[in-house]
Each structure stands twice: as C-alpha cells, then as structure tokens.
C-alpha cells in the first residue's frame, strides 16, 4: 500500500482531479466548522471566558481522532509517515506569531477558517475579519524583509515530532495526548457547569463510550508500534520506464515496477563517476555527496564537497535529509567500493529519503577514472573488499587533483543516465501556505 497517493501530494493543472479532491476536502472542512457553530463569533469568544468551551472540545476531539487514525494507519504500514507533511519547528517565530494570533482571536472573534464559515453564511463581522485578514497577510509580506533572518533561522529545528522531543515511542505519545485531551474535556465540562451554569446531566451519555473507544484505539496504536525500516524497505516500489526502439514504428515505452532489491540487482541505482561528477553541472538537480566511510579514510582522500557521515551514524541525519535540502536534491552515497554504500542506501530508502544513488565502484573507481595519471597515488595490492585500493603520500582530504576534476578537461563524458529525479512537494511555502 502506498498512501498518501503520490498523484495527490501536489496540486497541478496537469491533473485537474487534484483541484477537485482538495476542493472536496475544503468543502467538508467548511461544512463541519459551520455546523459546529464556528460561524458565530460569540461561540468562539465564549471559550476565553469559560462559559462555553466548544472551541476546545471540537478542536481537541478533531486532533486526537485524526492523530489516532493517522498513527494507526502508519503503524499498520498503510500510510507512509515520511510523506505526510509535518510542520517544521521554528521556535521563536512560532511563539510570537502564536501570541499575535491569540490577540487577533480575542479581538476579532474568529480564526481564519472560521471566518470563512461565518462570512459565507452572511455574518457581516465574519466578512470584516476576512477582509482584515487579506490586509494582515499583505502587511506581513511587506514587512518580512525587516526580520527575514530571524524569521527563517531563529529556533529552527526542522521536522521535529513530540516523540523525538520526549524520546518516547510514538504510540506512547499518542496515548498520553489522548489521556490529556480527555482530562481537558472533563475540566472543560466542570467549567461549563460552574461558570457557564450549564446543566451537564442533559449531555449525551454516548460521549463516555466515545472516550472509552478512543483510549482503546490509542492502546492499539501503542501495541501496533511503527513499522521497522526493514519492513518499509521491503514494501518499497520504484518505477522506471524502458523505451524499445523499433524500426519504422513508434517506440514502445514500458513502465516497469521494481522492488528495492531489484533496483540493486539491476544496478539501476549505481551511477558512474562520470554521471556523479556531471550532476554538479546539471541545473535541474543538486547533488549531495554523502561519504559513508570511516573518518580516517575520509581524511586521506575524499571527493570535493563530500560530507562525511559514517555508516553507523547515517540514521541520525535522516530527519534532516527529509526536511531540509531542496526537493531536487540527489544523494550520492560513496564508500571505498560499494558494500557500505549499499547498506547506507537500504537504510535511507527504507526511511523514505528520495533520490538516493550509489557511486559505482566507490572512491576506488573514482580514482581509477579521474586520477589514473596521478603518480603520487600507488595501488595498494593488499586492500580487501570496501577498503581503499590506493596508498596516499599524505592525508590531503580533497586537495588531490582528482578530487575536483577540471570541468573543462572533462567537459565531454559519456554515461548511461541512471538518475531519475523524483520531485516531492515544494516546501518553500510551508504547510499552511
């Protein structure tokens, strides 16, 4: 199973169904908000005077229901969590922006989406709020330049989830959030009884059963856990097209689906030194060279701009790889031969990092290709598998000539193109926009 559906991650004019699907989602969203009473600013403002806590009840019920279902689906292997948008954490702009929103909330009586439900049903104050919203967003666009560095960097932690913060299994966090929400609902009902003078005996008994069902589901999420990298690796599929040229006829294009192991076996993820080098000069992609060897080997010799991440620490950088580099990044894994790079490839693709490739033959093949005329490098006859096949006069890192081949000298290189760029969503705009 491959949810979310790749066709629907990005809206695009080439697939009008995307507009329809997102339109339907929006429709349901607006409908629910209106029928819950969020078109009326008094119902929203009452939250902050403890007379009626509808906002808290609707919002937290929605959060816990969506959370339990989402992580349940992730645990069952139906949904790939790495393809689900998780708002990146920007500590300080988040907190300050949140406080400003709170002020706007109590002064204006709406939040942006509830103002849509309000304005569309004829509430004049909702229309004024919407109008003010367009002005506020425009002012932000004009003033962002005065604090752009702070806005984009202060307290930036990337894709950070609560299980990472508290170092707990995600299922346990789900359970704790459910229990916290139920406690808040209980508190909210007490406040409504005392401050709002509401007769709670008329509340439906079904809500107790609902709370029980939520707890049971949350325990199920704990029990199911998350799929291991190995399980995710085994479920991966890659598609490649194959063109067969026939004389005098239209070429036949076949789309073939491969498993991850077949991609390795057919060597579809191995790029030659020539392709790895030429990727630097390709405007369409941004190659990132990940050198997975031990630091000592890296210090002896490495390709220019390669980043050293030893194999045993490669999983530590997965959250960064998933959130930070631009969508057109291509990761090229480098070991001395191929063994360590293949292991790293399995870990990365199993963690849903996209566009990961392996340098064919590793550093040894790179030197054989670009450094064959460097007389200071002598072959090391005793090198075993995945060890450096050369002896170096000094640990010069990337200061050997062949570490950064001359683009003029190697302008024309022939290679069979293996890199097929998979573009994910554009992340520049952020989640809510």
């Amino acid at each position: 199973m491959n949810f979310p559906l790749p066709e629907f991650i990005v809206v695009s004019a080439s697939n009008p169904w995307t507009y329809i699907l997102f339109g339907v989602i929006g429709f349901a969203f607006g409908y629910v908000l209106e029928m819950s009473g969020f078109g009326d600013s008094r119902k929203l403002a009452a939250q902050f005077y403890f007379t009626e806590l509808t906002v808290l009840k609707v919002m937290f019920t929605a959060i816990v229901v969506a959370m339990v279902l989402t992580f349940g689906a992730v645990g069952l292997g139906l949904l790939d969590f790495s393809q689900v948008w998780v708002n990146p954490t920007y500590l300080w702009s988040g907190i300050l922006g949140g406080l400003i929103m709170g002020v706007g909330f109590i002064v204006g009586g709406f939040c942006p989406t509830t103002s849509l439900a309000s304005a569309s049903t004829g509430k004049i104050d909702g229309m004024f709020f919407m109008l003010g919203g367009f002005v506020g967003a425009a002012i932000f666009a004009e003033t962002e330049k005065f604090f752009t560095h702070w806005y984009n960097n202060a307290g930036y932690y990337g894709r950070l989830t609560l299980d990472q913060v508290f170092n707990l299994p995600i299922g346990v966090v789900v359970l704790l959030v459910v229990l916290m929400a139920l406690f808040m609902f209980w508190g909210a009902e007490q406040l409504e009884r005392i401050v709002g003078k509401k007769d709670m005996s008329r509340e439906p008994k079904l809500r107790i059963a609902g709370a029980g069902a939520l707890v049971v589901l949350a325990f199920a999420v704990v029990f199911i856990g998350s799929p291991s990298i190995e399980e995710k690796y085994n479920n991966l599929t890659f598609t490649r097209t194959e063109t067969i040229q026939l004389e005098g006829q239209e070429p036949i294009v076949n789309t073939i689906t491969y498993s991850a192991d077949q991609m390795l076996a057919n060597r579809l993820v191995f790029v030659t030194p020539a392709e790895a080098f030429k990727a630097k000069y390709n405007q369409g992609m941004k190659p990132i060279y990940l050198d997975v060897r031990a630091e000592a080997d890296y210090n002896l010799y490495h390709i220019e701009n390669a980043v050293n991440v030893p194999l045993d620490r490669i999983l530590e950088i997965v959250p960064v790889l998933l959130s930070e580099p631009p969508a057109n990044s291509v990761f090229i894994l480098i070991s001395n031969d191929e063994t360590a790079a293949v292991s790293a490839w399995k870990l990365l693709v199993g963690s849903s990092v996209q566009n990961v490739y392996i340098l064919e033959g590793g550093v040894n093949n790179w030197i054989a290709f670009f450094g064959s005329d460097d007389k200071t490098l002598r072959p090391n006859p005793t090198a075993g598998d995945d060890q450096l096949g050369y002896l170096f006069p000094a640990a010069l890192g990337s200061r050997y000539e062949s570490c950064s081949p001359d683009p003029v000298e190697y302008e024309k290189l022939e290679f069979e193109q293996k890199i097929i760029l998979q573009l994910k969503r554009d992340k520049s705009g952020g989640g809510c926009g």
Partner: protein, 181 residues
C-alpha cells in the same frame, strides 16, 4: 402553516448546532482523510497570502520581483494560486455556505457581544483579522494549519504555536471583556 415552514431555500427553519464532540469527530475524520489521501492537512491562512500575492502579481509584477517573500510564491512564471491550499480555501467557503443553507442559518447579521455597537464590532473584527493573519504568516500557519494539522501529526512546533495562541487570547481576554460580555 406559518411562513417559517415555507420551503424557501433561504428561509429554512434554523436548526441547532451539532454537539461539539460530534463535530470534532467528523472534523478529525476529514483531517485524517486529508493526510491519508494527500499527505497534506487542512489550512486556510496560506491561501489568503497567496491570493494577496496573485493580486500584487496582477497589478504590479515588478513589486513581486523586489519582494523575496512574494517572489517565493509568485516569482517568474509561478502561479501563486497553484497550491493545494487554494482549492481548500474556496471549498471551505462553499462548504460553510452549504451548511448554512441546509440548516437555515443564511442571514445577514452581526454576531457580537451585547454591549457594543455593530460598527465597533466590525472595526474590531477587521483589526482582529489583520492581527490574526499577520501572526499566522509569522507562525507559518493558523489554527487549522498549525494547531489542528500539526497537532495531529505531533509536530513539536505546532504544539507550541497552539499553546501560544491560547496563551495570547486568554492573556488579553480580561482586558477586552467589554467586547463580549
């Protein structure tokens, strides 16, 4: 029968709102389906920003070129409206209208506290909208995009934003109580 029972679409008898927990469960399922099918959650404030960018791009494209923030959305041949959040925004408008229609709540009225005039309420709603969207763009998402969607995916930053929103509103509530009580 009285005029109330007439089957005019714009004059249906007003039905009560649904129970908050029921509304929450339905909203939660909608949010889950959004994640499950598309990988995106819910939101709307981003669309406000993008519609702004589209207007600026239509009126004065050179201004877009001088503003890095707008450039990201509307630079070059980019169409700022080509984003999932825009159909969600318009869908929510139509969805809200439809619910109002079926439940007899389509009326031109102003919802406000008992002790302020309509004009004060309109001014405050406008000011609130300015502030809210300014804050929402700063925090990269509003109550839907951050609190709801980020809350459900357990984003650490979104939980902070959520607490900040409630903190800001509760902190100021006492001082603006005349608006609502």
């Amino acid at each position: 029968m009285t005029a109330q029972a007439k089957k005019s679409i714009f004059n249906r008898p007003e039905k009560p709102y649904v129970h908050p927990y029921f509304g929450g469960v339905v909203l939660g399922i909608v949010l889950f389906l959004a994640f499950f099918l598309t990988g995106n959650g819910l939101g709307s404030s981003g669309a406000t920003s993008r519609i702004d960018a589209a207007i600026v791009d239509a009126v004065s494209p050179s201004h877009v070129d001088n503003n890095p923030y707008l450039l990201k959305m509307a630079g070059g041949d980019k169409n700022p409206l080509d984003d999932w959040i825009v159909p969600v925004f318009f869908g929510a408008l139509i969805g809200g209208f439809t619910s109002g229609l079926f439940n007899g709540r389509l009326k031109f009225i102003t919802t406000k506290g008992p002790n302020i005039s309509n004009r004060t309420r309109w001014l405050m709603a406008f000011l609130g909208g300015v502030l809210f969207l300014y804050g929402a763009r700063m925090a990269r998402g509003c109550t839907s995009g951050q609190a709801l969607s980020g809350g459900a995916t357990l984003s650490a930053g979104s939980w902070l934003v959520m607490f900040a929103i409630f903190g800001g509103a509760y902190g100021l509530a006492y001082f603006v109580r005349k608006l609502w009580n």
